[in-house]
Chain length 719, copies 2
């Protein structure tokens, strides 16, 4: 079995949304959904641009999809070859090299193509398209830039300007911020043919017409460039040059540069798993999907919660970045981890603004962060399935752990890499502002020293507006500790640090940090189980199937006061267990075991963020069979195309980078037990019986290592 | 036009629930719904007992309905006379004397009766029942004690024991607390007839059988007594004696004692209104309905939100008592006002317990208070009309203004009556415990002196879990002020007061009261309009009809995050305006005018508590036409049988004592402008053009006065 290959026979239109994500190609600059070249918007083709957002009317703000510049439609004797008439179809995704290929058999012709989004050149897409004829006739190939784009809350592109010629060019503007988006396409053929060009509302195209013989094969190579005015002042020209240069270099050379870049990525990050091929494939798939959406072209970008697989979740940056994407990158490609955090450092203004909007000081990061840290999360994130009315949700206002999650990653970056530059370059300031936010958000009392954090939402979003969420409170303490620790980290640069505090007008707040740290109310415990929030134990204690049985509509939202879970102890995802997975050194094995046993049966795992946390903690307490099951659930999500597709009436499909990162975390941090603590790298192997060997590279404190783990034990070898 | 008479022709079974309330007879000990004697449970007959509660299974706890001891069913030639076959029907309620009468014409007979619940003897009910025959035949009159009772969340009565004999007796026990409930019935006839007695599952009855001639009239007088084991150790015997003694005295004598008691009530409380007979009738009706449910037989009882008209709202005591019932009583029958407040003083333990349950100190009074101050409000007060699932509401946990409302009335009682005994006898302690609750509930900040009251619900219940509700915050300040004022009120009894503080372990808290008073965040204002709560102005500003147009089901609950109003500026009832009506001296006319103009168009008036507050403030700012409309809406509610009947799937019908009290308030405090401030009684007449004269008695500081108001001015005359 090839553990690098996703292969699917047949074509089912109703799965197009899921399959487009599973067969995604991306290089972090853009994502190209895995649909055939001729796919029209009903099959959800898309080239989703990273970091380019637009709002149409009063709809949700979301990322912009570029014009479809790899569009090719073949016709034979005037009749279009359409997927609906295909007699056979096979799609493949080579995870190792990021190459999507297809073979489709029609009655009179076969199409086979392979394409990639260049990992070596972020603006380049290339496609090698072959068509073989089973009978003679007249073929036309219409290739060009289609403006028939899938948008969830669009349209976003206006003022289209097309150019014909050797290179086709389409330039347009986004509606809200007038960002110019340009795509160019040129072609190379291995045959002579009559060519004409046209432009209309559907795009700009060249039509190649040729009389062919049975058995003849034509090869068309397409080179496309995509630029926006966020990249350069003349994106149309840049796209044109990009495509021309690629054609001049040739498809093979471009492909070689691309695969070389991927080889380098795998050298730095691949976890080789032996003993179970399905697991090895799933782990490759997970690493592929997370690696391919990393912002390698930038130093201050992060990764949306559904990667670049479309516009789901507004293309926004969630805590997934810090908690689920960050670990693989910081241990394998720390420059990418740094970019994710630079994004937060550079969007601090947005976080300060958001805190002020709610009457607080410090940094309250966006729950769904778009460019500049702008909050993409609206007050209405769920549509009631009975009334079709939007429902007020509180993710935006109450999920205050987001700032702590960011501070946590900033500190982890330093702890694991030993690199202080990020802290110096704004990271310290961000941590201090997060701490200041919590100072200001704390509920103190006139008649008691205790401090509560009231009216919050924890990771388990089904319980809204609760008090003293154990996860939130402990993560806040961690933030305060990280802030206080900065003084030690910069002990040799006291003057700089003092100046920073002064410049931030922080002296008074600094004095309060340790005070707050000591006064946060500790969570209640019962039989060693930490109460998820004040009053959680008093909620109805029933089973998942009880709760599921109360649904009146399968698409109902489970959370909030109207949801079936909100008034019960059933939770959406790891919460107390997430805390124990993220701060393992603060809890004993006994605590983890007691909480795991209590919370796991009460967890719906309704978020792709859940299984990973339970798996990590399961490894620690020796529940290896459960860890294995959760690992496979996590790692296979984008192989199988699983996960929820709907929340209420909102589409939430796409790839699952948090699960992808989670798969790496379970393998490396869970099965191998990798940790970097006090500047010391260590492993604590606990391999499930299904795995015979794990081998992977790690970078820590600027040094490279290889980890090898078998059932006999493990080694760390410096490279 | 007789402005003391409610009269209705015809009988419509579908209006039975509403009509039973409109024609209510009550004496504060029990309420007898206005249905014909033969009514079975489908017509919702009920004798609702004040202060006797029971819970069946896990249903809502609600007041107990006694066995129906005025039951009479006539049959002619073996055929029951049923309302469904009535050819004519007229029901009357004499508001002046609390007498319900009916005349019903059947094909072969006419029934006419009059009955009352004795205002002179709280356990007595009497009925004079006449039947005239239009043709000869054999009549049977089945009279007795029926156990066919209307219960909303019952059954509540068990272990029935019936006794036959001269006096029929039924004794039974409530399910939860085994309270004995007994009813007795004896009769007097002006004719001789064959009589038999029977008992079965439906009750205990005597059957009188007689052959009658056309034109003949039989008169049956029924005397019933009702007692519970909360009144006496042998309620069955007491009920028996009660009915026998009444029979011995005779119907006329009993009636005379009853009407005499009513005359006394009217002498002390009647507002005579001239100029508009509909208004005079409505005011009489309002005063009747509030006077009739006053707990004259007790010194420590209050009045449920739907009076004694049934089991709606769990028969519980709401803030209605202090804010809407209290004013009429304190100015006309202060001993009743004192009883309402004694109820709160004596249920302080329940309030201390509730506060502790939520982790606070001091007194957090029940939102729906039952006996002993027990909280009758559940966490689920609304049923979703789409899913039929209960919805988590926050009235119980978040409507913290209840304690301030009680402290407000306790202080008003002293201010208006000059009587310190209530304060001395526990009232001061209650105020101090309310203040302590707010000390403990306050959200202080580590980095600011401001104090917020977060996560509350104000009078406008459509907006749940808000911060800094203007009404709540200002009423809390008033509570703190009242607590601080106690020291002055008892300046001549310093030792006692100091001992009280010591006994309450209050010294430290006392020092914090003025601190909190100064630190509560003042409300934001915009163009002179006080923001109802933090962020209210940012909500969608739309019209009532916009919001109504979004309903998918007319019975939908409007509030909370799923309700059509929750995310808009549409409010259920007066909130800022209630504050301005209740603490008029704290606001200028300009402030009242600006807030009235802003909030009134945004108010649904979805609660019967709303119109009164708007009317009171309208009087002040000269909006007399609006005041008149709101007065009529308020005063006529139980004449017309208006008001909402449903909240979600929950029946909320019954009488509206808060509106009844509100009608008195509008007339006396609004139109006449009565006020008692600094020990001085004054009036500020502002009669709407429809009224030519108002004349009413008032008691203040132990003296009696008569107020006369015309368009020429007004006078206060000491009596």
């Amino acid at each position: 079995m090839n553990t690098w290959l996703l292969q699917q026979e047949g074509f089912n239109k109703t799965n197009a949304a899921v399959d487009g994500s599973r067969f995604l190609c991306s290089n972090g600059y853009l994502g190209l959904r895995g649909m055939p070249e001729e796919a029209a918007s009903g099959l959800f083709p898309a080239i989703t641009l990273a970091g380019v957002y637009d709002q149409f009317a009063d709809r949700w703000r979301e990322p912009v999809n570029a014009p479809n510049c790899l569009y090719i439609q073949a016709s034979l004797d005037g009749r279009s070859l359409s997927m609906e008439e295909a007699q056979g179809h096979c799609a493949k995704l080579d995870y190792r090299h990021g190459i999507y290929s297809r073979e489709t058999r029609f009655g009179q012709a076969c199409i086979s193509s392979r394409r990639f989004v260049s990992m070596a050149s972020p603006h380049l897409l290339a496609d090698e398209y072959r068509i073989t004829f089973l009978k003679a006739g007249v073929v036309t190939l219409k290739a060009g830039i289609s403006t028939d784009i899938w948008d969830i809350n669009g349209p976003h592109l206006f003022n289209f300007q097309h150019r014909t010629g050797d290179v086709l060019v389409t330039a347009c503007l986004t509606g809200q911020k007038k960002i110019a988006v340009a795509a160019a396409q040129c072609v190379q053929t291995d045959f002579d043919a009559e060519e004409s060009q046209s432009e209309d509302a559907a795009g700009v195209f060249r039509t190649i017409k040729k009389t062919v013989q049975a058995g003849e094969t034509l090869t068309l190579r397409v080179f496309s460039g995509v630029y926006t005015s966020l990249d350069t002042s003349d994106p149309a020209q840049a796209a044109l040059v990009c495509s021309q240069q690629a054609r001049a270099a040739g498809f093979s050379a471009c492909l070689q540069a691309h695969t070389g870049a991927w080889e380098e990525i795998w050298t730095r990050s691949e976890i080789a798993l032996e003993g179970d091929d399905d697991a090895a494939l799933a782990l490759h798939a997970s690493q592929y999907h997370l690696n391919c959406v990393a912002p390698r072209h930038a130093r201050n970008m992060s990764i949306p919660a559904r990667g670049l697989s479309g516009q789901t979740y507004k293309g926004a940056i969630f805590w997934d970045s810090e908690v689920f994407f960050f670990p693989m990158f910081v241990y394998t490609q720390p420059e990418i981890a740094k970019s994710l955090l630079h994004y937060r450092v550079e969007t601090l203004q947005g976080a300060l603004k958001k805190a002020a909007e709610y009457g607080f000081r410090g940094a309250f990061y966006a729950w769904e962060s778009q460019e500049g840290g702008e909050e993409g999360c609206t007050n209405f994130n769920v549509v009631d399935v009975f009334t079709h009315r939007p429902v007020r949700t509180y993710f935006r206002d109450k999920q205050i752990h987001i700032s702590a999650d960011i501070a946590y990653a900033l500190r982890n970056y330093y702890d694991i890499t030993g690199d202080r530059t990020l802290l110096k370059d704004g990271g310290a300031k961000a941590i201090l502002e997060c701490a200041r936010f919590y100072l200001s958000r704390a509920n103190a009392h006139l008649d008691s020293d205790m401090v509560d954090f009231a009216d919050v939402i924890g990771p388990d979003e089904y319980h809204e507006r609760i008090t003293n969420n154990a996860f939130t409170n402990q993560m806040i303490r961690h933030t305060l500790e990280s802030a206080l620790l900065l003084k030690e980290i910069f002990a040799d640069q006291q003057a700089w640090f003092a100046e920073l505090l002064q410049e931030m007008d922080y002296e008074q707040d600094w004095a309060l940090l340790s005070d707050l740290y000591c006064r946060i109310r500790p969570p209640r415990e019962r039989d060693g189980v930490m109460e998820q929030f004040d009053g959680y134990f008093d909620l109805e204690d029933c089973t998942l199937s009880d709760v599921r049985g109360r649904l009146c509509d399968p698409r109902e939202y489970w959370g909030g006061d109207h949801g079936v879970a909100g008034t019960t102890q059933i939770i959406k995802q790891a919460d107390v267990i997430a805390l124990m997975a993220m701060l393992p050194e603060r809890f004993t094995d006994e605590q983890v075991a007691a909480n795991w046993a209590y919370y796991e049966p009460r967890t719906e795992h309704g978020s792709s963020l859940s299984a990973c946390m339970y798996a990590l903690t399961a490894c620690r307490i020796g529940r290896l069979e459960e860890a294995w099951t959760l690992f496979m659930k996590t790692a296979r999500i984008d192989v199988l195309g699983g996960g929820k597709q709907w929340a209420g009436e909102i589409y939430i499909g796409g790839t699952h980078p948090a699960s992808n990162g989670g798969a790496w975390m379970i393998a490396a941090l869970g099965f191998a037990g990798l940790q970097m603590r006090g500047g010391k790298l260590s492993i604590h192997p606990r391999l499930p019986r299904q795995i015979t060997r794990l081998s992977f590279p790690v970078t820590a404190a600027g040094k490279n290592y290889r980890i090898e783990v078998t059932h006999a034990g493990g080694t760390i070898t410096g490279l």
